[in-house]
Amino acid sequence: MSNLTISDLHVTVETPEGPKQILRGVDLSINSGETHAIMGPNGSGKSTLAYSIAGHPKYEVTSGSVTLDGEEVLEMSVDERARAGLFLAMQYPVEVAGVSVSNFLRTAKTAIDGKAPALRHWVADVRESMDALRIDPSFAERNVNEGFSGGEKKRHEILQMELLKPTFAILDETDSGLDVDALRIVSEGVNRAKENTGLGVLLITHYTRILRYVKPDFVHVFVDGKVAEEGGPELAERLEAEGYDRFLAKA
């Protein structure tokens, strides 16, 4: 059983007008196998939380801590965080020209495991995951994210998550821009990873739609850079019916 604890996290981002406070004291704790939905209106700081945990250089943590099984994540480099077991499925995955998906996946797997994967098993694993996510085999030879549609990019993110087998995954609006079929395929991938590896999931989303397929154990509502309300799945249902208006009115 692993645990990821975020305590009193304050984060600023550099803007032309000077540093701007985005996160104002976030507290959150998640265990292996749990799914926490983080919901909230645009600009509430959901993505900032995701990128801060992953270590994006644009975000500066001014106070607070993030610990993975007691180890301070904030002291780790970006790649150390990944090797420690954290994964961020990005909302806008980046193109990497001249680097094939297959090379990229193998390089990442080798880095995460500290040794190259046994070739035969690896090829079979990749094929199986690609099949399950309905990713055409030809994608293995395409350059990373180059010319991928929005849905293909998201499925490629989930493919990486399945193969790299992190302890905790942060899904940053993985559901946005997906049609119903793609949403179902991506959700099945998340559920498979939970079942197979006991993955803990921080599911960042603006909408409740994906929560029909990936059942959250806890729901946290983000407003103005911190958690405004917490509860079980019923909170998501309430948000579905009422929207974010009552939080915005309060803020």
Binding site: A54, G55, H56, P57, S77, V78, D79, R81, A82, R83, F87, L88, M90, P93, V94, E95, V96, A97, G98, V99, N103, F104, T107, A108, A111, I112, N143, G147, Q160, L164
Partner: protein, 408 residues
């Protein structure tokens, strides 16, 4: 980068402040490429001062007087020839060489002086309809002599023939040359000029290519070595339907000046050109210059052209100048576009790779290899690709050693 808009599409999304850029038209500086003065008489050219448009990027004091009156009568060059059966490669006296058959007339003082100093021409002759699978290899090795050496190469491929000609440049030299390339009707030729010079070499080269009706020329320029490399490549068409692909790859290290000047003269209808030059720069005063001129003449209806230059600046202190220049004199074209982008390592790319556990250094290598991978595929000559890969790896060693102040 994908650019879909076929007409005058231009992409400045990653342009750096270092970058000059012009859009052609009569007012643009240097747009008079079509009317370049040409003469075989060196005295017809003033010695350049560096204020001229075509010389403004070149560090003239490092040209070792080639542009003035320094002797170009050295014999500091050895040429080794490896030619497959069916190709004639010979060094002939100028009088017996058909020099000038491409219509080339020197366009600057250096090339006119080279013309005047040339005694022998290296002639590569591929007969009509010959299909030569193996490349012709010329290895030009500098012997370290201080006196400049003149060279002239004439590559002539007969109608419907196919061939590949690769020249490797190695060693130390001050070498100035003229190159003529004649591609017969329906023929396909790949020419590779691979600068693997020692660090102190100076190489001035003017190449002139004539592409026959429905013929294809792929011209590849690869530069790793040398102190000052300045190459001018011109392509003109002799009949409709011809295509030219100008590819370049360069890696400029501290103090190196690598300059490519290109001119595609669309003087015939239905002709095509595609220009792709990619370079990386690292170290103090590494300098790359790319000037891409394309002229579409009134008679050149239905042509298609695209040119792209990309520079990856790996460290502080390096500078890339990139000037695409498109001059359009007819409205009846299939497509005409250009783009130029000079950027640093993309932080978002590095973050993406590192967020998958790949350590920073390995991530940089991956991005750099990826940057050049496309070129290696496009060049399509295995012997050249292998050598390039090894050279890129060696450059990466320099890049990763940290001595150049690569940002952490």
């Amino acid at each position: 980068m994908t650019i879909d808009n076929p007409v005058l599409s231009t992409d400045h999304s990653q342009a750096s402040a270092d970058e000059a850029h012009s859009h052609g038209g009569p007012a643009a500086a240097g747009a008079s490429y079509a009317d370049r003065f040409a003469s075989t008489d060196p005295a017809a050219f003033e010695a350049p001062t560096g204020r001229e448009e075509e010389w403004r990027f070149t560090p003239l004091r490092r040209l070792r007087g080639l542009q003035e009156d320094a002797a170009i009568d050295g014999s500091g060059i050895q040429v080794e020839i490896s030619a497959p059966e069916g190709v004639v490669v010979e060094q002939r006296p100028v009088e017996a060489s058909d020099r000038g058959i491409s219509g080339y007339v020197p366009i600057d003082r250096v090339s006119a002086r080279v013309w005047a100093s040339t005694a022998e021409v290296t002639v590569v002759d591929v007969p009509a309809e010959a299909e030569i699978a193996e490349p012709v290899f010329l290895t030009v090795t500098g012997q370290g002599e201080d006196t400049a050496t003149a060279g002239h190469t004439l590559i002539r491929v007969g109608a419907h023939a196919r061939a590949t000609v690769v020249t490797f440049f190695e060693g130390s030299a001050t070498f100035a040359e003229n190159v003529e390339i004649v591609v017969g009707d329906g023929a396909a030729l790949t020419v590779v000029s691979y600068q693997d010079w020692a660090r102190d070499a100076v190489h001035h080269s003017n190449a002139h290519a004539v592409i026959g009706r429905d013929a294809e020329l792929k011209h590849v320029s690869i530069s790793f070595g040398g102190d000052l490399v300045r190459h001018d490549t011109t392509a003109v068409y002799q009949g409709p339907g011809g295509g030219v692909e100008l590819l370049g790859l360069y890696f400029a290290d501290a103090g190196q000046h690598i300059e490519h000047r290109l001119f595609v003269d669309h003087n015939e209808p239905k002709t095509r050109s595609n220009v792709l030059y990619k370079g990386a720069l690292q170290g103090q005063d590494a300098h790359a210059v790319w000037i891409g001129n394309v002229l579409i003449r009134p008679e050149a209806e239905g042509i298609d052209t695209y040119e792209l230059n990309r520079n990856l600046v790996l460290t502080d202190g390096a500078r890339a100048d990139s000037v695409p220049n498109l001059e359009i004199e007819t409205g009846e074209i299939e497509g005409a576009g250009h783009a130029s982008a000079t950027g640093r390592f993309d932080d978002e790319q590095l973050f993406y790779l590192r967020s998958r556990g790949v350590p920073e250094e390995a991530a940089r290598r991956l991005v750099l290899r990826g940057f050049f991978a496309e070129m290696i595929n496009k060049i399509g000559v295995p012997a050249v690709g292998e050598r390039m890969l090894a050279a890129i790896e060696a450059e990466l060693e320099v890049a990763m050693s940290g001595e150049l102040g690569v940002e952490a």
